[in-house]
């Protein structure tokens, strides 16, 4: 669970924290979609905006960089592949591939867009309570037919509850097997089965107990959600984001 809590809600009283979760969901989606079409000038504007947003959400830059380190490796890979696969003016030529100017330009452009999407997503997670997110999503699912939104919200709650249980069980199983010399087994299928089987069986037994406990307490789907309310500042933020998106697409 250590890895999971690092990337979660960060309580504070900033303006972003006070915005309505439903509005923030809409903002996130619209900025993500608009950002995929952005060119250089729009990207600079969006980056400045992302910087302000992250500053307001009070996350340290260092912790953000640590959390997205694997993602940055992936971006570098895209940059590299793109730079050797695009035709154009040749900069560096080796025996197997040549790096072109246009390729580097395209690679940076694409990586920058993807990085921005992730940064806005992080700002959203850091400033919105998980229960508010759940309520916001349930609110958006409500008009959709065939989707039982209360049941879905309960299931998401159960997922959050199960994850630490699974991690503890996995650690226990892995340690027990290390003590019995599992490292000497080189067959990967054997090791997948020996880790997966006890892990899944024991967590299923735990889930059984939980289902019984819910039944015993007369669980039903008619429960009250946390209250969501929107105010003037939400609509003001909506106008700002709207103009930002239009600006991004037009440029």
């Amino acid at each position: 669970m250590d890895e999971l809590t690092a990337f979660g809600f960060y309580p504070a009283g900033s303006l972003l924290h006070r915005l309505d979760a439903r509005f923030k969901l809409v903002f996130l989606v619209s900025i993500s979609i608009a950002g995929l079409r952005a060119e250089w000038l729009a990207l600079v504007t969006l980056t400045v905006f992302a910087g302000i947003v992250l500053l307001v959400s009070r996350r340290s830059l260092f912790s953000i960089l640590i959390e997205i380190r694997y993602f940055i490796v992936f971006l570098l890979l895209i940059c590299f592949v793109r730079s050797i696969s695009t035709q154009g003016t040749c900069l560096i030529k080796t025996m197997f591939f040549s790096i072109t100017q246009e390729g580097i330009r395209d690679g940076i452009l694409i990586s920058w867009r993807l990085l921005l999407v992730v940064l806005f997503g992080m700002a959203f997670i850091a400033t919105t309570r998980p229960s508010d997110i759940r309520a916001g999503v349930a609110w958006f699912l409500k008009p959709l037919p065939f989707i039982p939104h209360k049941k879905v919200a309960t299931m998401i709650g159960l997922v959050v509850r199960f994850v630490p249980v699974i991690f503890n069980q996995a650690r226990e199983t892995a340690n027990a097997q290390k003590a019995r010399g599992i490292e000497n087994r080189k067959n990967p299928v054997y090791r997948l089965v020996r880790l997966g089987l006890p892990l899944v069986r024991r967590t299923f037994e735990n889930a059984d107990k939980l289902a019984l406990a819910m039944e015993a307490r007369c669980y039903s789907e008619n429960r009250s959600d946390p209250d969501l309310s929107s105010g003037v500042h939400d609509w003001f933020a909506a106008v700002v984001v709207f103009f930002l998106c239009v600006f991004t697409i037009v440029l």
């Binding site: 979660g8 997670i125 299923f204 939980l210």
Partner: protein, 188 residues
Amino acid sequence: MNSASQMHMMVYASLLAALTAAGAYLAIPIGPVPIVLQNLFIMLAGLLLGSRWAMASVGVYLLAGACGLPVFAGGTGGIGKFLGPTGGYLLGFLPAAFFIGMISERTGHRVVFDILAMIGGTLIIYIFGIAWLMVVTGMSLVKTLAVGMFPFLIGDGLKIAAAVPVARALRPVIKPKGREECVINQTK
């Protein structure tokens, strides 16, 4: 289906969604590319829960991720992830789990068909994943395959091989409750 077994299936589906989320972190370090357990649990969801509940399980997993819970690989989450480079794989999980569940149900849980279902499911994931990766990064098909499919094929084979005995061992754990309740219903 009565409400008690509905409840059991709901809890099981949530558990498999949680296992999928945990599977993004749990890796067995063998060789240069560690084997991540994430899609092993997608396949198990199909084999153990059947088509409908497998799709519910994966749907809840994706929705939890879309809400911003850090359940996707690399400890990320958020709706932006669907628009990012790996978004296609994530969306592909949904039809893949349904397909595996459907084939496995129709063929009476026989091993050969289970394996075929999982191969088909893996193909579905790659069709979605590669298509989207091509759109987002603008790479050619061959390059995209080299980055987004070939390095993972061995791991997928191992996971399919591992899923068969795990599913066979776990089906009896899940099944008896359903039967028990059926008996109770009939006696009522």
